[in-house]
Symmetry: C2
């Protein structure tokens, strides 16, 4: 049996990142800070209006996988690219980071998914994702040995957007639990929560999911509350372990009666928030699967998130293990 | 007639940039700091050994074109991509920067050129370029109105590597001079100078080229001298105007009896030297074609070069006109 610390499952996406001003978002009806799903036609339109860009591998759970690997954790990834140049870039980057990635690429249309990410002067990112080949991820892509063997199987709420991925998740979760392992999810995006609230609540309340990652607005969306406190108490009741991120306010971890408050790290310049939540999850899961206390898990999450928002793009450009060692966390 | 400030002609390349340590360069026989030409097979090999990367449009003269446009100059570009995804990225990025780029893409193999750029901890970049579709750039790609109409036509010495591009350059230079305009070149790389020294000297001495950009090692290579002073006196005799860049020592401009010494700007962190010379040329040429004195041209070059080495990748991520205004240069 494969034995990884973490198996990440997500939409395999190449990011195309450019700066813009707030007017651009408004003029193009892009919801700021959100993941906007777009079709091929709108992708063409927006790309035509986009400024000069850079390309980098992305995808929420892919970023988390890369982060765990950068900490030195053992990671596998399931996600669907096409057998095309962007798919090749995605595959290269995640493997070069040390992640076991063997999902069969799609040998026909649609092409590898891409997300046009517009970063405004405040550092906030607004994503416009064309799912492409991701719509073909399904239960046949679940490598049983990896699904059973990972200490934590972590997936994106975003996987409820493509049609078949949820079946892959349910199968992976079953294999994980049968082997005595745990399953984690991120709520991904407040609008995503809004699309799939009942299903996400069912995943949590049925104990299909053991650990939930959410930011404050996702948590509030899940429980349709304006109160962080209410949201925290609700997730505490529904779920064994949850980590709620709050940008510059740090994060709050709840487990049973425990509540652990973690500070954000000090940063010099907020450059681009892309990947902040993904890298928080990476630090947390690296710690969690390597015997750290919850407080240390949260601090590792804060560290990785704080570093990634000081660069352009969501994949770690620092050696996170070295950064953790310098911070006295590893 | 098209009327641009600058027409740039170069190898149209997408950069694939990753960090590595010095041992990696040695183990893979990559000449540090140089542009190493590689074939498709070696490109595969090196990509397989390369760490996680980011992709950005590049190409020396393409970077210069993007820089001039970012200053607000009117720019056109000739360069050959293929009709493939990387070619599309290149085309999007240069047009989105405001550069007039209409060279017909190649509708067959080879694919768009790529350069794997390894950045060592000292910030130095070592390039490994597979020329791909660039080998098809030829005189049929010279758009006569643009070649005749630009105040300065600027090209890369690198264009002597593909077989037919030099014919495009000679034709463009002829059209430019017939219209009473000027022609500039960069010597590109000391090894490139070594490959084409006699031809480069002939271009300069025959007055096919009016303005030369070189860094110190390229100048020394051109005149096969170890002395900067000898090199400067030789280029002063051969060429009407030359700008010689010296990294953190700034640059020296020579024109007839004049010698103008320009300081480098103060920087916080040297991140990646990719594009430093290209952006120096951009600032210089923007100033030169917009009525600035030579000292101001040199300062604009220093500014643009100093900014680009504090980021990853060679295309300007700052608005250079704004930066020039803040520096009191525009």
């Amino acid at each position: 049996m494969s034995r990884h610390d973490v198996l990440c499952i997500g939409n395999a996406i190449v990011d195309i990142i450019a700066r813009c001003d707030d007017d651009f978002l408004q003029d193009n009806a892009i919801t700021k800070g959100a993941m906007n799903l777009i079709d091929a036609e709108r992708a063409e339109l927006l790309y035509g209006r986009m400024g000069p860009a850079i390309e980098t591998s992305g995808g929420s759970a892919g970023n988390t996988a890369a982060g765990v690997a950068s900490f030195g954790g053992q990671v596998a990834y399931f996600g669907k690219v096409a057998a095309d140049p962007l798919g090749r870039i995605f595959t290269h980057d995640i493997r070069a980071q040390g992640v076991a990635f063997d999902t069969m690429p799609l040998d026909r249309e649609p092409p590898t998914a891409r997300s046009m990410i517009f970063v405004t002067p405040d550092g906030e990112r607004s994503m416009n994702t064309h799912l492409g080949a991701c719509v073909e991820l399904g239960p046949e892509d679940v490598e049983a040995d990896k699904a059973a063997g990972a200490k934590v199987t972590y997936f994106e709420g975003y996987l409820w957007d493509p049609p078949l991925a949820k079946e892959a998740i349910r199968l992976s979760a079953k294999l994980s639990h049968e082997a005595g392992n745990e399953v984690a999810m991120t709520l991904s995006d407040p609008f995503c929560v809004d699309r799939y609230r009942d299903e996400f609540l069912e995943l949590i309340r049925s104990k299909t999911v053991d650990i939930v990652f959410a930011n404050e607005s996702e948590l509030k969306s899940l429980y349709q509350t304006a109160s962080l406190e209410s949201g925290l108490e609700a997730i505490r009741a529904d779920c064994g372990l949850a980590a709620v991120t709050r940008s510059e306010k740090g994060s709050i971890i709840v487990r049973g009666d425990e509540t652990i408050v973690i500070k954000a790290i000090e940063i010099d310049t907020l450059t681009d928030t892309t990947g902040a939540g993904d890298l928080y999850a990476a630090g947390f899961l690296y710690g969690y699967t390597n015997g750290h206390e919850l407080e240390s898990c949260g601090k590792l999450g804060s560290l990785a998130a704080g570093l990634v928002i000081q660069q352009i793009g969501p994949r770690p450009q620092h050696d996170l293990l070295q950064a953790a060692q310098q911070a006295g966390l590893a």
